[in-house]
Symmetry: C2
């Protein structure tokens, strides 16, 4: 259904008028640039994936340290994640000029084109994601030999298909980091030379980096965001299936229900998302408030109905502790919504924090930076407290009100993430339509359309910034819960590796023996000494925490370097072709696109490889306890750091817009110039490092899962 | 001995010529301002301490939830920490004008006055610290009733005197946060209006904030740093004593040796520090390189001899596993030195990172900020890896090469911190003399002494910046190790609370029972489920991580607000008394001093109270497992965040100095203006938030220790 409606919306979008020749030409430049980027990125990734798949095949078939499914699930995860990004970007690049053309007619028309195009992305992500998970589950159930131990067989199946997540995570990291570097290098480069040095307005066609800047919105905000949430979505469902299988291993009937429940909830969520998409419409002359209400209608309708529908589903399934699991689903949804609201509070111009930053801009760049850093750090309080409380509550409800019941409790945490992401089809639509409206505005500006057109696209764009806050809330919240669930799943994979190596008894302190197959998570914690005062755990926690900072530092500096190359190129073109600034010669857009592309590819490799290698090395040196320490240390610091970076960046951006709307001296005042510097500093914070951190923590978990066999074999040596 | 030599050096310093009348008058202003600040701060703190001591007395005598010693140890810890700060500041404020006067004679004279005055601070801190710890130990041994269980009695004694740490920690936090806000509000305020708006040079007597700025160096860098390290020093010795008592509880003879060893090592370190202080001297015409060698001689002599002497001591003591414990001591020393070197690499103008920031200054304020943030984040890698490896190694060596031997291993971690801080007398001297030289330069400038005087004080000041990096390495490294050891000690205190409540058996999973008195740390981890997948631990880790960011955000914004008030005041004075800028009227220095004082007092309360309340609330809501999660989460994120903030700030500061030395256009170039903005942003990073984080993580541990009784009684309800 998701793919059918995505195809239908895509066709409807293509049927809209594409505008005049100039608009088509500009759209063509952007499309070509975006596709050139994707081609280049997919080439690099293909190489990495082929090398890793070969390595995995050797580990699986040669060393027998991996499941034989791994090379295929890994490649498949990467491929479908890339495919979702590709469809999203194809749609977005085709939709921008059509949105601009529709905006010549009316605001409702422009909203419909852009929002339904965003919905293509949302529906492709959930359709491909759930389809893959379900298909792998059915395939594994068909191919894996029958066993007298039906419960154990299901655990094996669900932990095997978990490996699908690593391909998706790695692809997502490449897309986010590469896309983030691309878009910010182009943005910063275009602004520094174009706006500040040459004094030409934003989106002016005389700026050689302007096409690269518009390509960047698609590459970073559409393809990157799509791959990111594809991975979160699949990860949360897969982790819930694996933990459900483990929690009810003794009762195969209940076990199957626990495995099916997350997929079924996701399926219902897709249907409700489609209804939500249809609910988004507005009338001409709608103000910001009415537009927000229109979008909110779509999101709220699907959220309210998923609460009811998932409760009904779990009741019909006759699931054990159905009400507790339902409570976890609702907890997840509410957590996501509160985190989104908190993000909005910290970054929207209507609230105090952003207004404080704007006021501090009167003191110059230093005070605006200090205020933004302070606001960003303080803004971590509510999301962290809410996610912490949500984790506890989901765990407690799903565990049957017994904290000692760890596996069922962690199943609840995983299913809370599924609940949070269940209506991703529509929430992602409201996220992905933002860059389309932004690009439509660029197209209108470059094509010289009238100011009323630009006003309409600006209204849509500015709305997109607000809904993006909600989307970020879901991305951040779900990343934390999913990473937690994946860490718990890691120990289930370790169990199988122990069994495979003939360790069918765990010797606990005091001489007590527990059968490995029946061991609870708590027993594993004791067996591997995964306690907080084990120095291996502590040292690994330090490293995990440090990884979050080093990874952010690497990506922030990468943007700096790539932007520097862009600045050089734009300056060179202005210098060598004086006709450009007079509007007589066309700048060489393609060179700027190529520079951003090459820069992003080169810069994304090292941080990504570091993210893959760290869990492997930690496992080899510090064992299972070290890996869990690394993952939780990375999660607890990375989660908070990601919120800080995203919110600081968002608040600086909006503080600038607040000043531009006439406060503190308005455009071109000293305060405005200071706020532009704040915004530039915030660009890599909010669009490169912050979102990449969410993927980093999940990628480290999936790498750990893949490498569990190697780690266990080291442990046994 | 330490106090005797401190008194001797103080007397020698006072005997130096204090300079002409103007110099004495300026020094008087600074001294009065500093003392006014201390009076105000001690008034606020007295109130807080009296209230808390009353609360503790009620908990101890009324509710029987605390040791009866607590009110006294708490007050005593706060009092002696404050006393060390008071002596240090009295010395520093008297030494500045005398250093300036000595600099009129020669460089060696100026070095001697300033360095030996710094040594007063160093020796007072270690003398009062070790004296207190030893005195409390002897007192407790005298007063506590004899018991057939000699080993258990010693554990009770050492865990009781642990409570001394909380008073010292709380005082240190007030000093660091208050002092940090004071000094940066004055600095930023003086720079923004004086240098940028009015265009008068640094340390110009026409600037009304100039005295407050000079007071700030004493308040923040002398008194704050002293209280900080007093608390680290006492904390590491106390934690080592408590863990030593716990590790060898079964063998009273070995136990006493394990308790005495940290105090004895600290004692030998004091003697070697005094020798080190005498080894620091140089001759006229010494260049930067020779000055550095002179200081290095003092530090290295004491470091090399402490390695030999502590080995000999442990061998003579016939301590169990003497070589392993000695290995831990050496590991601590080496860790501190490497962290210091890494700090130097990241922040000194002679290395790439700072030069990269300076180069990025050519692109304007935005690129210099981005580069500094990136450099700071990357700079966390080496210190974290080294401290992580040092923790593992110290644990492994002291545990007798058996990771399962947790209490002895953690004793090794604590004694590594003792080793790192053993020569604090001389390392703190080389840290504290920096602000004295800085103030001497200010005095020389305001008193209109010749340029050769200023050159000499500048040489000393700039050297101080380099040695401060080493000092910071020790402060950061020891904070991490000490916090770890305190967290481990927390569980020892919990053991006593359980016993006091009649819980003499711990029921472990599987029905196994362990006697509480004999339980190992690992048993407590199991009993309280202090494992990484316990949702209470995870939620508390999130909160700990978040606390580090929120605390930093609060202190950064506090500096912004206090600096804003200072800017208003300086502008007002320039406006209402035009004679000031013409040099005809004297500015109202006292008003600026008062504004910084009041601002710092008001702003320091909320973050400090938050730091005290968080462990209490976490204990009440999430129990012992939650507290340990909070402490380790706060430690692993706070440790990394502190390095990032300190190093970013230090690198921006030095990038500015690098440009001022003539690179990238030199003074007053565009690059220089951009680098000044970087430096201003870095001020609260490196001098307020970064160093305060080190204390925050230790204060949370000591609060947890104090509140163990309350937490356990909640647990038992």
């Amino acid at each position: 259904m998701a793919l059918f409606f995505a195809w239908k919306f895509y066709g409807e979008m293509l049927a809209w008028d594409e505008g005049d020749e100039l608009m088509r030409k500009i759209a063509g430049h952007v499309r070509d640039g975006a596709m050139a980027y994707l081609r280049q990125q997919y080439k690099v990734m293909l190489l990495v994936f082929v090398v890793l798949a070969g390595l995995f095949a050797w580990l699986a078939y040669g060393m027998n340290l991996q499941t034989h499914w791994l090379p295929y699930t890994f490649l498949c995860g990467g491929f479908f994640s890339a495919l979702a990004g590709y469809f999203g970007m194809r749609t977005a690049t085709a939709a921008a000029s059509r949105t601009a053309a529709a905006a010549r007619q009316s605001l409702p028309a422009a909203l419909q084109v852009s929002f339904r195009s965003g919905a293509v992305m949302g529906l492709v992500v959930v359709g491909l994601g759930l389809g893959n998970v379900a298909a792998w589950f059915v395939l594994a159930d068909l191919l894996m030999p029958a066993s007298a131990d039906a419960g154990g067989r299901m655990v094996l199946i669900t932990t095997t298909i978990l490996t699908f997540g690593m391909g998706a995570s790695l692809q997502a990291l490449f897309s986010r980091v590469g896309g983030g570097i691309y878009t910010k290098a182009a943005d910063v480069g275009a602004d520094l030379v174009g706006k500040v040095e040459a004094g030409i307005p934003e989106d002016d066609p005389r700026n050689p980096a302007v096409i690269a800047d518009n390509v960047g919105d698609n590459v970073g905000d559409v393809a990157g965001m799509g791959a990111d949430l594809f991975e979160s979505y699949c990860g949360s469902i897969l982790a819930a299936c694996a933990l459900g299988a483990a929690a009810f291993v003794a009762t195969p009937d209940a076990q199957l229900k626990a495995i099916v429940a997350p997929m079924a909830i996701a399926g219902i969520g897709i249907m409700l998302s489609i209804i939500g998409v249809f609910a988004v419409k507005t009338e001409e002359g709608a103000d910001q408030h009415m537009l927000l209400a229109a979008l909110g209608r779509g999101i709220h309708i699907s959220a309210i109905f998923i609460v009811l529908a998932s409760g009904l589903l779990l009741w019909l399934l006759d699931m054990p502790n159905a009400m507790g699991v339902w409570g976890a689903v609702v907890t997840g949804l509410v957590t996501g919504i509160i985190v989104g609201r908190a993000t909005e509070y910290s970054t929207a111009t209507t609230f105090k924090p952003t207004q404080h930053i704007a006021a501090q801009a009167e003191g110059g760049p230093a005070t605006v930076i200090i205020a933004g850093v302070g606001v960003g750090m303080l803004s971590t309080a509510i999301p962290v407290l809410v996610v912490g409380a949500g984790t506890l509550l989901a765990f407690f409800l799903a565990s049957g009100l017994d904290f000692a019941n760890m596996t069922q409790g962690l199943y609840g945490v995983a299913i809370a993430a599924v609940g949070m992401l269940s209506t991703l089809g529509v929430t992602l639509a409201s996220d992905a339509y933002g860059p389309i409206a932004d690009n439509a505005g660029g197209n209108a500006e470059m094509a010289g359309l009238g100011p009323e057109v630009r006003n309409r696209t600006d209204a849509l764009d500015s709305l997109g910034n607000t809904t993006a806050a909600t989307g970020k809330g879901f991305a951040i919240g779900s990343a934390a819960l999913t990473a937690l669930a994946l860490t718990a799943s890691y120990l289930e994979v370790v169990r199988f590796e122990l069994l495979k190596n003939g360790i069918d008894q765990l010797a606990l302190p005091g001489g007590q023996m527990v059968a490995t197959a029946q061991a609870q998570l708590a027993d594993f914690m004791i067996y591997f000494n995964i306690t907080l005062l084990n120095p291996k755990v502590l040292a690994a926690m330090f490293v995990g925490s440090m990884m979050a900072f080093v990874f952010s530092g690497l990506t922030i500096m990468a943007v700096g370097r790539a932007a520097g190359m862009m600045v050089e190129e734009v300056r060179r073109q202005f210098r060598e072709t004086p006709g450009i600034l007079e509007g007589k010669a066309e700048p060489d857009y393609a060179r700027c696109v190529a520079i951003s592309t090459v820069g992003a590819q080169r810069e994304m490799l090292f941080p990504s490889i570091l993210a893959v290698l760290t869990p492997v090395l930690t496992g080899a040196l510090l064992g299972v306890a070290g890996v869990v320490g690394l993952l939780t240390g990375g999660l607890s610091a990375g989660f908070v750091l990601a919120i800080f970076l995203s919110n600081s960046g968002g608040a600086w951006d909006n503080a600038k817009k607040y000043i531009e709307s006439g406060r503190h001296g308005g455009k071109n005042s000293l305060a405005h110039r200071a706020s532009v510097i704040g915004d530039t500093v915030g660009d890599p914070f909010k669009d490169t490092s912050g979102p990449s951190l969410n993927i980093l923590i999940k990628l480290m978990s999936t790498v750990a899962i893949i490498m569990a066999g190697v780690t266990v074999s080291f442990h046994l040596m």
